[in-house]
């Protein structure tokens, strides 16, 4: 199935684009999809320790099971206010 990574702020800038579509096995977890993203895009690996992951509009745990076409956001440290 396909999922979509949404890239934000410095990750978006580093990647040069704001989304990456990716194919993952049905029933994939957040952590397996994220691992695959970093494997396919090693230049983004350096953000791994600082980003939080959201699915749709909610922060997600690594074991969260993904549905087809869900949007996975990589959230670097936020700076609102």
């Amino acid at each position: 199935m396909e999922v979509v990574f949404l890239l934000w702020a410095q990750i978006r800038i580093a990647a040069g684009r704001d989304r990456i579509r990716m194919t993952v096995p049905a029933g994939a977890t957040v952590s397996s999809a994220v691992d695959r993203l970093y494997a396919e895009h090693p230049s983004l690996e350096r953000f791994r320790t600082t980003v939080r992951v959201a699915v749709g509009n909610e922060y997600a745990t690594p074991d969260r099971i993904l549905e087809p076409d869900e949007e996975i956001s990589l959230i670097p440290p936020v700076q609102g206010g």
Binding site: W8, Q10, I13, A54, N57, E58, S73, I75, G80, G81
Partner: protein
């Protein structure tokens, strides 16, 4: 009356904020209103800037901010809570974050306002990009 749910208004959008003077919904109930303006400063990391461009995951930001507001209003027994976050380009000297917490009691209004800002700065997906005098920016 203090048990009733608070009136909450949360907005995350572009353009100048619709800030209204503090007006109490139920005069007599509330003893304190705390208002906060977060304002764009003319310096960012030591360099002069002209504006901040706020990048935002809008749908998620609204959900997160709404939840934070609801939790804090309940925790502090607020009567009213308004949180407005401007995104897009915000010129130096203008308000990017406006907040108004109305409560029967002063300490809860102050605590709520400060907690809300802390949680916003931790969880709401908004990012800053400095815009210099010549429109130079990083994307």
């Amino acid at each position: 009356m203090e048990e009733a749910a608070a009136t909450i208004r949360v907005e995350v959008r572009e353009g100048a904020l619709s800030i209204e003077p503090v007006r109490l919904e139920e005069p007599g109930r509330d003893g304190a209103a705390v208002v906060f303006h977060g304002i764009v400063r003319g310096q960012e990391n030591g360099a002069r800037i002209e504006a901040i461009e706020y990048e935002c995951h809008v749908a998620m930001a609204r959900v997160q901010l709404e939840r934070i507001a609801r939790r804090i209003a309940r925790a502090h027994a607020l009567s009213e809570l308004v949180v407005l976050h401007r995104i897009g380009v915000v010129p130096v000297g203008e308000t990017s974050l406006y907040l108004c917490a109305v409560s029967p009691h002063r300490p809860s209004a102050f605590a709520a306002a400060q907690e809300l800002i802390e949680e916003l700065k931790r969880d709401v997906p908004i990012w800053k990009h400095a815009r210099g005098a010549h429109g130079i920016r990083e994307r």
